[in-house]
């Protein structure tokens, strides 16, 4: 019997089998941010266990609330900063160099095919886009990861989702994943890995694959995963060229992290993407999704473009293609937050920041901020936000607020009209 990508990664990292259904894995990358890590650090200190298993395998960033908004968030940053310094964690990203973790760490080349990755953040599943097993964990798992370099999981079952056909103009990876979550529900992949496959995924950029894998957790999945290929190798090339000399060799090497043809899956779903139209959420669950045509005309107060889901340069380009030469509708606030300094800089040199500013957007520094209602764009009670983020939970972007999740194209079209709008009329 063949193996899935996830099973191959598990076999290669197996440390212990504490029960027939649990495995303890060696972890290649432990990622940390200032919201869930400081409590782990303080607890380790209190227990006299303030150690790290390998500083080169720990990556840390201040990203959720940055610059600090108050004394409490300043202290969270300080605890992480002091800890990184104390343990010689070289890959620590502070103000000026920091960005949204799931955009920043891939950009630095930290994630490679076949890796195991954990972080105290549920959207860690994003990194599965590189053919890695990447799982969000709680603070205790993070603590043990920091201390011992291991993490425990149940043996993974894989749900394979084959995306066939092709995405039409104005329809993106965000629309694809929203439609998938609608179909399989918020509980549809609990305790499973979702392997995204098929021609649509194969032709996607790494940015699009990250968007796809990012929201796997909204269906309950432990990790999203895409088989690594030439696109993966090209993205990683600046970091791996010394190792491989020729890109073909990297592509060949990556093939060992593909599922075998006779691999066993919990379920296989084949979905034709050709007829898919832009999607948008309604109400408070990410599986409550409609065609945008059915939501057109819904008034919004704020448009937010950013986050680990859709704050990459490709996303800003999509939005700018609609915003160019246009203005925000009256009474609509526009906020854009490029997810990393590199994305911000690229957007500056491509003239994209100017397009946003000319349209009337507020351009923020890279941060998670408003996506989870912590800072920089929190909604007032009764307000509505068209957002390129990942969760529309009750109160997510501010108590009493309503969030409609959508693609950067759709958010830009909505910004221009002031009501939820199908972006294809602008493309």
């Amino acid at each position: 019997m063949g193996k899935t990508i996830a099973q191959k990664i598990f076999s290669a990292h197996l440390r212990d089998t504490p029960s027939p259904s649990n495995v303890v894995l060696d972890i290649d990358v432990v990622m940390c941010h200032e919201i869930t890590t400081p409590i782990a650090i303080l607890d380790l200190m209190e227990k006299g266990m303030d150690r790290v298993f390998d500083p080169s395998k720990i990556k840390a960033v201040i990203d959720h609330v940055t610059p600090a908004k108050d004394s409490k968030t300043a202290m969270q940053g300080k605890i992480l900063r002091d800890w990184a310094k104390r343990h010689q964690i070289v890959d620590f990203f502070d103000i000026g160099k920091n960005g949204v973790c799931h955009a920043l760490f891939p950009e630095k080349g930290f994630i490679r095919p076949g890796y195991t990755v954990i972080m105290g953040d549920s959207h860690t599943c994003t990194h599965g886009a590189f053919g890695a097993f990447a799982a969000g964990v709680g603070t205790t798992d993070l603590e043990v990861g920091i201390l011992k370099g291991v993490c425990c999981f149940r043996s993974p079952e894989t749900l394979k989702i084959i995306l066939t056909g092709s995405l039409s103009t104005g329809v993106t990876a965000k629309d694809a994943i929203l439609s998938i979550i609608k179909r399989i529900t918020v509980n549809g992949a609990t305790d499973k890995v979702i392997e995204f496959a098929g021609p649509v995924v194969h032709s996607m950029s790494m940015a699009a694959r990250m968007t796809l894998c990012n929201m796997a957790v909204e269906a309950g999945a432990t990790s999203g995963i895409c088989a690594p290929d030439r696109v993966t190798a090209e993205y990683l090339w600046p970091f791996i060229k010394e190792d491989y000399q020729q890109i073909e060799r990297a592509v060949e090497e990556f093939e060992k992290w593909q599922s075998d043809p006779d691999a066993e899956y919990a379920q296989i779903l084949e979905i034709d993407m050709s007829e898919l139209t832009p999607q948008v959420t309604f109400n408070f669950k990410p599986d409550q999704v409609k065609d945008i045509a059915d939501m057109e005309g819904t008034q919004v107060d704020q448009v937010y473009i950013g986050s680990c889901t859709n704050g990459r340069i490709e996303d800003l380009r999509d939005a700018a293609s609609i915003l160019k030469g246009r203005k925000l509708a009256e009474n609509v606030r526009g906020i854009v937050t490029p997810a990393t300094p590199l994305i911000y800089n690229t957007a500056l040199s491509e003239g994209i920041i100017k397009i946003f500013m000319d349209a009337g957007f507020c351009v923020l520094n890279p941060t998670c901020g408003a996506c989870l209602g912590m800072s920089s764009g929190v909604l007032a009670e009764g307000e509505v936000c068209a957002s390129t983020t990942n969760r529309n939970f009750n109160g997510r972007m501010g108590k009493g607020g309503m969030v409609h999740l959508m693609s950067p194209y759709s958010a830009a079209a909505t910004a221009v009209t002031g009501v939820i709008t199908d972006p294809r009329k602008f493309l």
């Binding site: 919201i35 400081p38 969270q76 291991v150």
Partner: protein
């Protein structure tokens, strides 16, 4: 070993998420006790705000709920918010993976019951008290309404989860073993 159980509250909804259990604005706290009064602050039941300061809530040690409990964020603050309110047990049809793992990692119990078993608990009258027999893997719900007979269900607890509970969580377990 720690014992589990006590007066229960019924939260009759699927997919109760971490942001409802503890909103992100409280994630700036570095003391677990600071979460105490904010537990379930943003919960909506039947579309209406849940009263998280009610007398029943003050006494509650057990939560009985439906499917996919704790979905969303990885924040262990959601588990700690229960912990600092002396809630030591959650009975549900299913849990989101990270939340469930966080429960056991903290050495507290998340028990999965069948849908129909939970429905029978939801239909009980009076105030419910839950007790757990870990050795026999049985959970019993009794009502203070004498007309209502107690219900006992068996559950599965795999050996690793049991080890975590007896070790007092994943950190002491892992520290000893790896």
């Amino acid at each position: 070993m720690k014992t589990f159980g006590g007066p229960a509250i019924l939260l009759d909804r699927d997919d109760i998420n971490t942001d409802e259990i503890i909103p992100a604005k409280y994630l700036t706290e570095i003391s677990k006790m600071a979460l105490k009064t904010h537990l379930l602050e943003d919960l909506l039941l039947d579309g209406k705000p849940f009263d998280n300061q009610s007398n029943t809530m003050q006494k509650t040690q057990v939560v009985i709920t439906r499917a996919n409990f704790g979905c969303g964020s990885s924040r262990e603050h959601a588990v700690w918010a229960f912990e600092v309110n002396d809630i030591n047990l959650i009975l549900a049809e299913s849990f989101a993976r990270i939340f469930r793992q966080n429960m056991f990692n903290c050495g507290i119990l998340a028990i999965e019951l069948k849908k129909e078993e939970l429905s029978s608990l939801f239909s009980m009258t009076g105030n419910i008290t839950v007790s757990v027999d870990l050795n026999n893997a049985e959970v019993t719900a009794a009502s203070d309404n004498v007309a209502e007979s107690a219900k006992t269900f068996s559950f599965t607890l795999n050996s690793f989860d049991r080890d975590l509970v007896s070790a007092g969580g994943w950190l002491p377990y892992a520290d000893q073993r790896y």
